[in-house]
Symmetry: C2
Subunit: 333 residues, 2 copies
């Protein structure tokens, strides 16, 4: 038995999470009971919602209590098993928490065949919650129709890049918003967006006016803030705003910036609707059935941004919140 390590949340961050908001603790070795498995965690998923879980705010999950291991999705290899559903050597994914080793009854853990994926990390991106978020947010909340105009923020991020590709696969005109020339080139040249807007160097409103002269049908919003406000000014009739997240506001220490142009929803007869991927887990097969052919046809791929070492988990979070990541942010253990 190895000595397991885990990252505990010890204070609620103000603004960006600091290293000192966490504490690395060694866990006493545990012997497996019947029905249990031991998973060596290989990759952890860094997700925008983590910043919400670290606050005391009521959300779809309770806050991470101070002293608890930080909540995180992860994947790993089964290294010891007293549960016949999980053999040693198999891979599993689930809410492992930010720890090197997980002892589990197997509940909530899904087996997957890592050898069938371009990289095991895809189980945390396209074929994980990220992919389901993109797929059901776009289709079930956004109701896109071929030929419509789709704008996606954080278009080089994990969910955003999946949405851009899915939008193209569904026959939409897609405009991605991302920060910096490299990301914009990625969004246009690799992901296949029709246009990309560099929010760090362009006037968003002017760029939207240029690229969406007739307005926007669907906006997939991962960020909130200024981009949401600019989109609200250019809604087409019966536009749908898919509220997936508001990462630009998650680390705000002052007041949250609400969308000042929300009244445009009236003249546009538009709709802004939130969703949570948990509600769609039971429909995962439906998403897989749609996504697998896209992956095989090269229409849907996943870029991973990998930081090494559990101790760099807070740094990986800061990368995400600063928009420094390029693709799905993972931590490799």
């Amino acid at each position: 038995m190895t000595t397991a390590r885990a990252l505990h949340l010890v204070s609620r961050p103000e603004g960006l999470p600091k290293d000192s908001d966490f504490e690395m603790r060694e866990a006493a070795p545990v012997e497996l009971q019947d029905g249990q498995i031991r998973i060596a965690v290989k990759y952890l998923s860094i997700d925008p919602a983590m910043r919400v879980w670290m606050t005391e705010a009521k959300s779809y999950w309770p806050p991470v209590a101070l002293g608890e291991v930080m909540r995180s999705a992860g994947i790993g290899e089964v290294i010891e098993s007293k549960n016949e559903k999980f053999e040693v050597g198999s891979w599993a994914s689930g809410m492992t928490g930010a720890r090197s080793e997980l002892v589990s009854e197997g509940k909530g853990m899904q087996r997957f065949d890592a050898s069938k994926l371009p990289h095991p990390g895809w189980a945390l991106s396209i074929f994980g919650a990220t992919g389901l978020t993109a797929y059901f947010g776009l289709t079930d909340i956004g109701h896109p129709k071929a030929g419509e105009v789709l704008v996606v923020s954080a278009a080089a991020g994990a969910v955003g890049s999946a949405v851009v590709q899915m939008g193209k696969a569904l026959g939409l005109r897609v405009i991605g918003v991302a920060g910096g020339a490299d990301k914009c080139a990625f969004v246009k040249d690799i992901l296949g967006a029709d246009e990309a807007i560099d929010y760090k160097n362009e006037n968003i409103s002017a760029a939207l006016r240029r690229h969406c002269p007739d307005g926007i049908d669907v906006y997939f919003d991962n960020v909130g803030g200024e981009i949401l406000d600019a989109v609200l000014k250019r809604l087409k009739l019966k536009a749908r705003i898919v509220l997936c997240g508001g990462i630009s506001q998650y680390n705000a220490t002052g007041e949250i910036r609400g969308p000042a142009n929300y009244l445009s929803l009236i003249s546009a007869r538009g709709r802004m609707e939130g969703f949570v991927v948990l509600d769609y887990l039971h429909r995962a097969e439906e998403a897989m059935a749609a996504m697998t052919p896209w992956v095989k046809a090269g229409k849907l791929s996943s870029k991973l941004d990998i930081v090494e070492g559990l101790e760099n988990f807070p740094e990986a979070m800061r990368r995400l919140y600063a928009g420094a990541n390029f693709g799905k942010q993972l931590v490799k253990l």
Copy 2:
């Protein structure tokens, strides 16, 4: 032929409309052409959206141009007719504009039988755009189900008071928000709301917590601002926010206050949707069929707040925007 007067918009108001933003002008007498009618305007409707029409903002109608007669719905009696569809003595309603006399081809004017109404002004309230706004906003956008919790802002206002009564008629638990003890008593005792919240003298969040312990299913929003933000914190799963207006923000001279708690739509899987009554004019009969039995059963009534004199039109607008009106704000000529 009498000398007609009309109120022209001569400057775009900053903040509340001032008398000096308008100019009363006499119109040269016009002889009727074949097909035309002359209507002596009797009542004008003062509506929240007027403040939007007075700006240069793109909306569902173009701005009122400077120098034009102020746009307004109105009703009046036909006093001269060269159009067989409108006989002298009959009543008509439509977009008359803020004028004492209208010469019209009759297009866009609806005849109505004033003798069948408790007051002719009802043609501008329950049986006018106000009633259609309340009915279709509540049913078509709000999708209320009997037993659900409905919160209505500006509940003593024209649309709000209709929504409160319709909500009760549909079997909902209804909480009305209004300003001042008199209006709250009206909302509860006359309109029949289960509870009323006095936003001028109560903490809205605390009151909503008390009156909606399990959350809010439908919010019919006429005001925006602080009340919208308080409601957002208490949404039930799959809640619907009906965006009818944002009167608290229409006269803002600084930045509009967007709903800072809009991200609650994510955890609640909620929806905020705008609508415009114009889209429902072709379904007016459907609303009338639902409302008429309510009116006959005493479940739906309309309080009118009448200011006398065309010259007091700007004052009537200020009453509305200050929340000083009590029921549907009309100007009697």
